[in-house]
Symmetry: C3
Subunit: 115 residues, 3 copies
Amino acid sequence: MIKRLQVGDRMSQVVIHDGTVYLAGQVALEKGGAPVAEQTQHILDRIDGLLKEAGTDKTKVLSATIWLSDISTFDEMNKVWDAWVPEGNAPARACVESKLAAPQFTVEIGIIAAL
Amino acid sequence: MIKRLQVGDRMSQVVIHDGTVYLAGQVALEKGGAPVAEQTQHILDRIDGLLKEAGTDKTKVLSATIWLSDISTFDEMNKVWDAWVPEGNAPARACVESKLAAPQFTVEIGIIAAL
Amino acid sequence: MIKRLQVGDRMSQVVIHDGTVYLAGQVALEKGGAPVAEQTQHILDRIDGLLKEAGTDKTKVLSATIWLSDISTFDEMNKVWDAWVPEGNAPARACVESKLAAPQFTVEIGIIAAL
């Protein structure tokens, strides 16, 4: 009844249960230290890939939580975010400031989607 | 299968899927700069309105996440929160400190509810 | 349709709806001021207890959010977390820094699980 993808010892990148898809908080693994806009784009590309692997896509995102290590980058992140959101299918969203696991990561995005 | 209300380019205020309702993180849009208690009341009024629009109400809230820009306002927020929670129907809850998108907002609340 | 356990005026520790279980953010209530590893273990023991009371267990955790009051304790927390995660059943996870409700608590964990 529960399907997990990219399963590690610490977390799974995707967990599917009863039509709902939970993604692990995504950071810009290959873009650490890059500007916020670039990290955001890399994260959204990763999210697109994980959603595809789960059998869904960005038109079915229900909810997003965005953590910025510095909230003054809000507008820079949003420019990339707004371009990614599919017209008419924007998810519920919260965006707050929190330091992340490693200082080279300045954006983290968690997603709940429908299958 | 997914119903979205108050849909914007950045986020939807309400997303409904399979009996579960996700609200965008609510801030006190019309009370920026007001004391924490007043912002909290305004947010909870907004949440009541969004839940009504979704076809549900505060007795069916499953989970709440509360972000305070200054955790020392915990008691001030709770006084308003506790009065709002319907007896016997309190949601699961987490409350932590995070700076929010704009400095005039000192409280943000995210809600998951049942339809 | 909604079942709540350990219901208080402020929050319920467990809320169950349609096969999904939401736990309140757990802190180390009896270990305030203890080292992060000890707080983490106490929290995970509490989570095991709440999941059992809900009729489920840690092999069915879908998603976890971990807040650390000091992100430099990331490795210390993870050592305990990694040992707790059941092989092949790791949840989606996000871990960020946020101050918590009281300074003696340095770790808080929120859980969504399947019944």
